[in-house]
């Protein structure tokens, strides 16, 4: 099992850092899956267990100048690692003006993902900073736990307003309530609502637009659904806030699928990066 990659472009490094920062804001530990073409950051808390899940996909070619991977076997040419994204984010933070960054899988006191950055120095020789991030290598028999989540059989799918706007609203609401109801219909309307004994607050968004999912074959909302009818899910406001607050990759497109009373499925797209986030509904 071997993995080695190299990044030289500062833009790529910054972009990658932002992605990792976003992930580290969302979860303490996650799984990093490496394939010949892609990197995946995955959070495997099952919705059924009441936790959130996350799926972030990056195309390696958009970030790395070199990318060598040798998986367990030729036919299973992949590597699954469990790591703490916070470590990776910290390591990348100190490598911000690096001339080059190398990432490789190493065997030190324990298996490590080693980030080595070449930094400019006062002399002709570069400074070399290396961070050994301890990882757990996930055995092949457990790989099946990390399948890409399928787009759920949602009732309503809607484009999101700017994440910042949503965050500002949710931040305020968080002071008032622990739970929030997100509802939307097929007319491009979305509401964020909280309700407590003392106060009810709702924020209305309109003309957001509804993505059409017909062409990729997944089950979209049934045709006979009343466009005015709201599908809703009541979620833990902290989980939603965490998702909104962690966003550093200013997405070009964001959408939300609502499975009525079951869960929220967020999808953020930014050029080469896609991030999916699932928040289960609470009663």
């Amino acid at each position: 099992m071997k993995f080695r990659a190299k990044m030289v472009d500062v833009g790529c490094l910054n972009h990658f850092t932002r992605v990792v920062n976003t992930i580290s804001k969302l979860t303490k530990t996650c799984t990093l899956r490496l394939t010949a073409d892609n990197l995946f950051f995955m959070l495997s808390d099952k919705v059924a267990n009441g936790g959130v899940s996350m799926w972030c996909e990056l195309s390696q070619a958009n970030f790395f100048d070199e990318f060598q991977l040798e998986g367990v076997t030729a036919e299973a040419n992949e590597i699954y690692l469990e790591l703490q994204p916070e470590n990776m984010s910290r390591a990348l933070r100190t490598a911000q003006n690096a001339k080059s960054l190398k990432v490789k899988l190493t065997k030190k006191h324990c298996p490590c993902l080693t980030l080595a950055a070449e930094l400019p120095s006062l002399s002709s020789a570069s400074r070399l900073v290396t961070h050994d991030i301890p990882v757990d290598v996930i055995p092949r028999r457990l790989w099946q736990d990390f399948k890409e989540p399928s787009v759920p059989d949602f009732d309503v799918s809607i484009y999101l307003p700017p994440i910042k706007t949503m965050k500002n609203v949710v931040d305020r609401m968080k002071n008032l309530s622990n739970h929030l109801v997100l509802e939307a219909n097929l007319k491009g309307e979305m509401n964020l609502k909280i309700e407590t004994d003392l106060v009810s607050v709702s924020t209305h968004f309109k003309d957001l637009g509804n993505p059409s999912w017909d062409d990729d074959g997944s089950q979209g909302p049934s045709q006979d659904r009343d466009p005015e009818a709201m599908a809703h899910a009541r979620v833990d406001i902290k989980k939603l806030q965490q998702f909104l607050a962690g966003q550093q990759v200013n997405p070009s497109k964001g959408m939300c699928n609502i499975v009525n009373k079951r869960m929220l499925h967020f999808i953020l797209l930014h050029e080469d990066v896609s991030l999916q986030y699932f928040i289960p509904a609470v009663a």
């Binding site: 910290r90 390591a91 490789k104 324990c110 006062l122 570069s126 400074r127 290396t130 050994d132 301890p134």
Partner: protein, 382 residues
């Protein structure tokens, strides 16, 4: 004592106080013939810091008539005098420090713009002299660098990190000595290592390749001062277990920080050797020394010691017991002793015992890995 600080030197003094406050809770003030000494020691007595301002630093300086005057006070209260560095720079023109030993008051008078006077009267306690025993001249290794380099180096380590290691290799033919810093933490933590070339240092004298580990917090305290003053920082050190001295000098100012380093193994006999070798005057129980035992690397000498009475180190056991009883009996001592112990243990035993072999192996291994990596790379490129 009566002295007057003017202009930019007020800020230097203020920075020194802030820097000292990062280390200890008490400020030891001693007006000497050769200048005003401000000292502190941390609660576990593993770090000692001293700023000596020469008489020329002051516009006017007169030390005490009675030559043995010394006092200590809470560093926080002195810090309060110089609280805001930025407003200090803008408004304060002069600062007068006066000692009134009859009233047991030390008075800081800040002469500000528009004739405004701010007077702080602080009470103090008499105390013994605080003096770490160290001999930087005998240190085999000396590194001197601009503070910027040190600050940039430390920046790579998380602020929560407690200890940092410095390892040096002898300058080889190609002149590429390496300076490696590494986190000495248990296996689940991220390890960070930074290699600096010898060329980046103003002075790089390594006659004994070694690796030492010490607390980062105190070093950060010194760097804070060094960065603002722009003075190069010198590191004097030897084998693990011997203190590292961080030093900054200027014509009117001398700063020494002495930090304990982890000893290579925590074998008791080894400690004893270290002790006797290290401390020509190991002080027996005096209230200052009670929680200062074994390997620790910094011996605090008290001036009140009878010169004859300090011939040999008391056996370890006695010292330990002495501490135990003093903890039991004196509340104050206990309060101070407890956290110190904890820290002490974590500093010298907690991370020492389980990992000492591991840590040394790690360096070896990581270095091997580094070497083989570059080999691989060449293969990959060709």
């Amino acid at each position: 004592m009566d002295c007057m600080v003017t202009g930019g030197n007020v800020k230097v003094l203020a920075k020194a106080i802030h820097s000292l406050s990062r280390i200890g809770e008490e400020l030891y003030l001693e007006p000497q013939e050769d200048g005003l000494a401000l000292r502190t020691v941390n609660s576990s007595r593993s770090a000692y810091a001293c700023f000596l301002f020469s008489p020329l630093f002051f516009q006017r300086y007169s030390s005490c008539r009675s030559p043995v005057f010394r006092c200590k006070m809470a560093v926080k209260s002195v810090q309060a005098v110089f609280r805001s560095l930025s407003s200090l720079e803008k408004t304060v023109e002069r600062c007068r420090i006066e000692l009134n030993s009859e009233k047991s008051r030390i008075t800081f008078t800040l002469h500000c713009k528009h004739g405004l006077l701010k007077t702080h009267n602080l009470s103090f306690q008499d105390c013994e002299s605080l003096q770490a025993v160290f001999d930087r001249e005998s240190c085999a290794n000396v590194l001197r660098a601009q503070p910027r380099l040190m600050v940039d180096t430390v920046l790579h380590f998380p602020s929560s990190l407690e200890e940092v290691s410095v390892s040096v290799q002898r300058v080889n033919e190609c002149g590429s000595g390496n300076h490696v810093e590494e986190e000495a933490e248990h296996s689940k933590a991220m390890l960070t290592e930074l290699c600096l070339s010898a060329e980046e240092f103003e002075q790089f004298t390594v006659s004994c390749p070694t690796r030492i580990t010490f607390c980062l917090k105190e070093m950060r305290g010194l760097l804070m001062f060094a960065e603002s003053s722009g003075l190069p920082v010198s590191l004097y050190f030897d084998e693990p277990g011997r203190p590292v001295v961080l030093r900054l000098t200027e014509s009117v100012l001398e700063v020494n920080f002495v930090l304990a380093t982890l000893s290579e193994d925590s074998h008791p006999s080894n400690h004893k050797n270290n002790n006797t070798e290290r401390l020509p005057n190991p002080a027996p129980a005096d209230d200052f020394m009670n929680d200062d035992i074994d390997s620790y690397l910094i011996a605090m000498e008290t001036s009140e010691l009878a010169p004859g009475g300090s011939g040999c180190a008391p056996p370890r056991d006695t010292q330990l017991r002495a501490r135990a009883t003093s903890e039991g009996e004196e509340e104050e001592e206990e309060e101070m002793g407890r956290p110190a112990n904890k820290k002490f243990r974590s500093l010298f035993f907690g991370s020492m015992l389980p990992t000492s072999s591991q840590v040394t192996n790690q360096t070896l291994r990581s270095q091997e890995v580094l070497a083989s990596d570059s080999e691989n790379e060449e293969e990959g490129n060709s």
